[in-house]
Every structure is written in C-alpha cells, then in structure tokens.
C-alpha cells in the first residue's frame, strides 16, 4: 500500500514536472505569469487527440508535431501581444493572459463542444506487475519521457547557444543586449519553448485523463505550486518539486481522502510563499528578487 502510494505519486509527479517547466521558464526569464499555460496544455491534448482520431497515430509518435504546433502558438503570442506589453507594465501580463485563456477555452468549446474525449491505445489499460506493485505502462512511459524532455531542455539551456542567450537575457537584459542578443527574439523563443513543453504535457495528459476544453484549469493550480516550490525559472527545481508534489498529493489522497488533495496543495503553497519564497532551488532571476 505504502509502496503503491509512492509509485503513483512519483509517476504523476513526472507529468506535473513537465507541465510546470515551461511555465516556470517563462516566469523566470520574462517575469510573465502565463495564465493561459493551462490552455496550452489543453491544446496539446487536443492536437494529440485529433491526430490520433483522424490518422490513428499514437500520441507518443505525434509528440514532435504537438510540440511544434504549440511552439508556433507560444512564439506568436509573445511576438504579437506580450512583447509589446513588457515595456509598460509586466503585471498586466497576468490580466492579458487571463483574457487569452478565456479566448482559447471558449474557442475550443465552440469547435470541439464540451464533450469529454479520450485517447485509447491498445496498451492503455495494461500494467506491469513488479512484485506487489502495479505500474501502468502509459504512466511509466510518460514518466520516463517527461524526465528525458526535462533533461533535454536542461541541456539545451546550458549547452546550446540559443539556450545560453535565454539564460543571459534572464540574468541581465541590458548586458545581453550589449553582447548582440535581441531580447525580444529571446523572449519569443522562450515563450515558444515554454508552450512546446506545455504541449508535451498535454499530449501525455491526453492518454491519462479525459480531454475537455476546461482540462487546463485542473493543471494550472498544480503548476503554480510546483513552480514556486521548485524555485522560479529552475528546471531541476521544477522536476524535484513536481515529483515531491505528486508524492504529497498521493499521500494526501490516501491518508485524508481525495477531496483534500487540492487543499493540501494550496496550504503548502501559501506556506512556501511565506517561509521560502525563492523555492527549493531558486536562484536570482529576472523574475524579481524577493
């Protein structure tokens, strides 16, 4: 029982981590809180669903396509809307992305209706039995892929030239500009990458949860908590916090009942904010010193 609770928590935690990394990056690098991040996840799930229902392609196989579609969306939103706002007031980005969230959710309601959809592959309900523990195959695959994507993104930031440009802009926009980096391009790239990761999370979620235009709302709360717990803008922090969050929720659900999952999360969130606002692995980033 204890072992199963831990396995469930960790596996869900992997999905949470990938759902949070893009949000955390966007916040850390630009100081923008993207309230539409949940909708990006939802759109990722719908892209996977459409490809699966229309062409019969497995969501794992269509992952690059899903990520590419969301990258373009994130890139354009940043270029056309948010980049202009950043010169006036950053906090307005919260309001703007809330409006964007409304638009995306209601567009999807219009196009797809509120019906619940699902992606059922041949292996959806299969599990591996490891001694007394049951490990669902899809969850395990999602967990492993999520960690690989997180690792890949970490390498991209720390090794690739474009990744270095993102980090440099996050640390000091003016100096980055002097080095010939165009911050507005870097911002659009960051937003695109953040949206692509949200798309990946949505693609994974399409295989695990019912798909509906409102599904992003169930993610956005958890994403906030994980971002703050892990430290804003920190990828390794988001992974650690995602796993921890999955564990805490899993234990809260098994000890207190499913209804307490969320309340435990939010109480935890408020406590972190007050006691350790920089999070577990937070560094000083553009996202405001505390």
């Amino acid at each position: 029982m204890l072992g199963q609770t831990i396995v469930n928590g960790l596996l869900t935690g992997g999905l949470y981590a990938i759902a949070a990394i893009g949000f955390s990056m966007v916040w850390g690098v630009m100081g923008i809180i993207n309230m539409a991040h949940g909708s990006f996840i939802m759109l990722g799930a719908y892209v996977s669903y459409i490809v699966f229902a229309g062409l019969g392609i497995d969501p794992f196989a269509s992952l690059p396509l899903t990520m590419a579609v969301l990258f373009v969306l994130g890139y354009l939103v940043q270029r056309l809307l948010l980049n202009r706002l950043m010169r006036t007031s950053l906090l307005l980005s919260l309001v703007l992305t809330f409006g964007l969230d409304l638009v995306l959710i209601n567009l999807c309601l219009l196009v797809f209706s509120a019906d619940l959809r699902s992606v059922n592959t041949a292996y959806t309900s299969q599990s591996l039995a490891l001694g007394p523990l049951l490990v669902p195959i899809v969850r395990l695959a999602v967990f492993l892929l999520a960690l690989m994507l997180a690792g890949g993104f970490y390498l991209f930031l720390n090794r690739a030239k474009a990744g270095q440009a993102i980090l440099a802009t996050a640390l000091d926009k003016e100096t980055a500009r002097l080095m010939g980096i165009d911050p507005l391009k870097v911002y659009a790239l960051t937003a695109g990458a953040g949206a692509a990761l949200a798309g990946a999370a949505g693609s994974f979620a399409s295989m695990l949860y019912p798909i509906s235009p409102n599904m992003g709302l169930t993610f956005i709360g958890s994403v906030f908590v994980i971002t703050v717990l892990g430290g804003i803008g920190s990828i390794e922090g988001a992974v650690l916090a995602g796993l921890l969050y999955g564990l805490i929720q899993s234990f809260a659900a098994s000890l207190l009942g499913v209804n307490y999952e969320e309340i435990v999360a939010f109480v935890m969130f408020l406590v972190i904010l007050v006691l350790r606002p920089q999070g577990l692995l937070g560094k000083r980033f553009y996202g405001e010193p505390v």
Binding site: L85, T88, L96, F98, G99, V103, F266, E288, V290
Partner: protein
C-alpha cells in the same frame, strides 16, 4: 476654477438622483443589470484601493467577496436579521484581510498576486470540505425572506447603490488622507516610504482591510440577493478579473474611474451577452486583451487629455 468644479459636482448629483429614481421607471431586467453594475463598481473600487493606491495586485480579491457572501448566508440561515448579517460581512472580511495580510503583504509583485489567487482557491476548498452549516459542495440554500421578489430586487438595488456611493466616498477620502499619500509613496518605493517614516506594514494592511471590507459588503449583499450560495460561484475568480478590467478601463488610482469602468464593461458585456450568448466569454476574453493592449492607463486618462483640467499657473 469654480464653475468647472461646480459643474462636476452637479453632474454627479444629477446622476445620483437619476439612479435613486430609476426603480420608479424601470424594473425587472434593467434594474438587475444596474444592480450588478453597482456591485462590480464596488469590487473594482476595492481593487482600486489595494492595486491602484498601494500597488499590490490582489488578483484573488474575490476571496473577500465569497467570504462576505458566506458570512451573510450562514448568519441568515442561523436566524440573524439581514441588517446584522450585512454588517458582519465587512467586519469578517476586514479581520481576515488584517490577519492574512500580515504574512502575505510581505510578498511583492507577482508573488503577492499569485498568493491571493491561491488563497481564494484554498478558501473555496475549505468551504467545500468544512460542509456543515456552509452547505459544502452542495451549496447553501438560504431561508426565503418575507419580501416579494419585486421588493427584494429594489432593496438589493438600493443596498448596492449605497455601497457604491459609500465606497466612492471612502476612496475620495483616501485620495486626500495621509494614508492615501502613504500608500502612493509605498507604491513608488517601499524603501523610500520606509525612510520617510511611514509604517509600511500598517499602511498596506489597512489598505487591504479597507479593500476587503468593500468587497465583503457587496459579496454579502449579493449572497442575500441570489439566495443560494455555491463555493464555485461565490469564489469565482472571474469576479476579480472583471473588477480588475473595470478598474483598468476607468483608470486606477482615481476616484470615479472604477465606477465608470463598471458602467462601461457591464453595459458592453450585457449587450454581448444578449447578442451572442454562445460566444460571449470568447468576446469578453478578446475585450480583455484589447483593453490591456490599447488602454492600459484607463479611459479617464484619455478623457483628461482631451479636456485640459486647469491652465498652468502663471
């Protein structure tokens, strides 16, 4: 200068007289719309105090709205008279803001904004899990009053109107009081305000309590009005967001901006609601994006640029 000031005050008095007389002429649908305009004007005014003056973006301020609604709901269900219940709502909300503000107002910028959103979600879940006298997830049906529906609507109309006038007067007082100057100093620079000898913790806690009191009052009246409380609708973050947009549209940090914004946005969204019921949230979302992109300083700001207020001193 006198004629302009006189004109402004008499214009306001005329508008107020029209609003007081409105129930004689209109009823039903339009009265309810005016009532919700007044309600949102107070929500926007509450945000104006904490965001416009103090610079703390309390995105989840709706938590006090829900709290006020539940205080009235529970009090009336337990048999308290309406007058007492409506007085308890702001008191409860102010106390909550004072107690929660002490730790939360130490957070800055985004962190505070997000903490208030989390607070709202936590309160929502708390009501669901506490259950009992709050009705929990199933909602709280309140005992039917003795008033006929028409009379109830009129009573609520005047309560909301009163709340709107009171909140505007409070903001007018605030804009000229030492507290208001302290808050504006705080907004520009917390350290600078501190150096000037302002007790910043006290000032911002007072501001949030004031904001919570306003929001809690209309939350309470609203709770009595709809007579059936659900956590999801009482703590609906959309209420804060609407208020926020109204404050932006009207102009934050001004006395009448939030009121003008409430009239503007509610009228527009009522028209949208009537014309395009299926896509009204979509259009509202687009409207939010447009307001933020095009009018971040508010309508009053642009209006003032057109009508110069006074000539420069010689």
């Amino acid at each position: 200068m006198m004629p302009l000031r006189l004109a402004r005050w008499s214009g306001l008095a005329l508008a107020l007289a029209l609003m007081v007389a409105a129930p004689l002429v209109i009823g039903g649908y339009w009265l309810r719309i005016l009532t919700s305009i007044y309600m949102y004007a107070v929500v926007a005014q509450g945000l104006n105090v904490i965001v416009g003056f103090a610079g703390y973006h309390a995105f989840g301020n709706v938590v006090f709205f829900g709290l006020g609604a539940y205080i009235v709901g529970v009090a009336v269900t337990l048999g308290a008279p309406l007058a007492l219940a409506i007085v308890l709502a702001p008191i409860g909300a102010m106390l909550a803001a004072a107690v929660l503000g002490w730790p939360l107002l130490r957070l800055k910028g985004h962190y505070f904004a997000i903490a208030t959103v989390a607070l709202n979600l936590a309160m929502n879940d708390l009501i669901i899990n506490v259950g009992g006298v709050t009705g929990g997830a199933e909602g709280l049906p309140m005992p039917l009053g003795t008033l006929a529906p028409e009379a109830l609507n009129e009573l609520v109309y005047f309560l909301m109107l009163g709340a709107m006038v009171a909140s505007a007067l409070i903001v007018l007082w605030l804009s000229r009081s030492p507290l208001g100057y302290a808050l504006r100093a705080l907004k520009d620079s917390a350290l600078g305000a501190e150096v000037m000898g302002i007790n910043t913790t006290l000032a911002k806690t007072l501001a949030w309590a004031l904001s919570a009191g306003m929001t809690g009052t209309v939350g309470g009246i609203w709770g009595y009005w709809i007579n059936f409380l659900e956590p999801g609708s009482a703590f609906d973050i959309g209420i804060s967001v609407n208020g926020y947009i109204m404050m932006l549209v009207g102009g934050m940090g001004t006395v009448l901006g939030p009121v003008i914004g409430a009239f503007f946005l509610e009228t527009v969204s009522t028209i949208i609601w009537g014309e395009f019921i299926k896509v009204h949230l979509l259009i509202l979302g687009l409207l939010i994006i447009l307001v933020v992109m095009l009018l971040p300083e508010g309508l009053l700001f642009h209006f003032r640029r057109l009508v110069p207020r006074r000539k420069a001193a010689p």
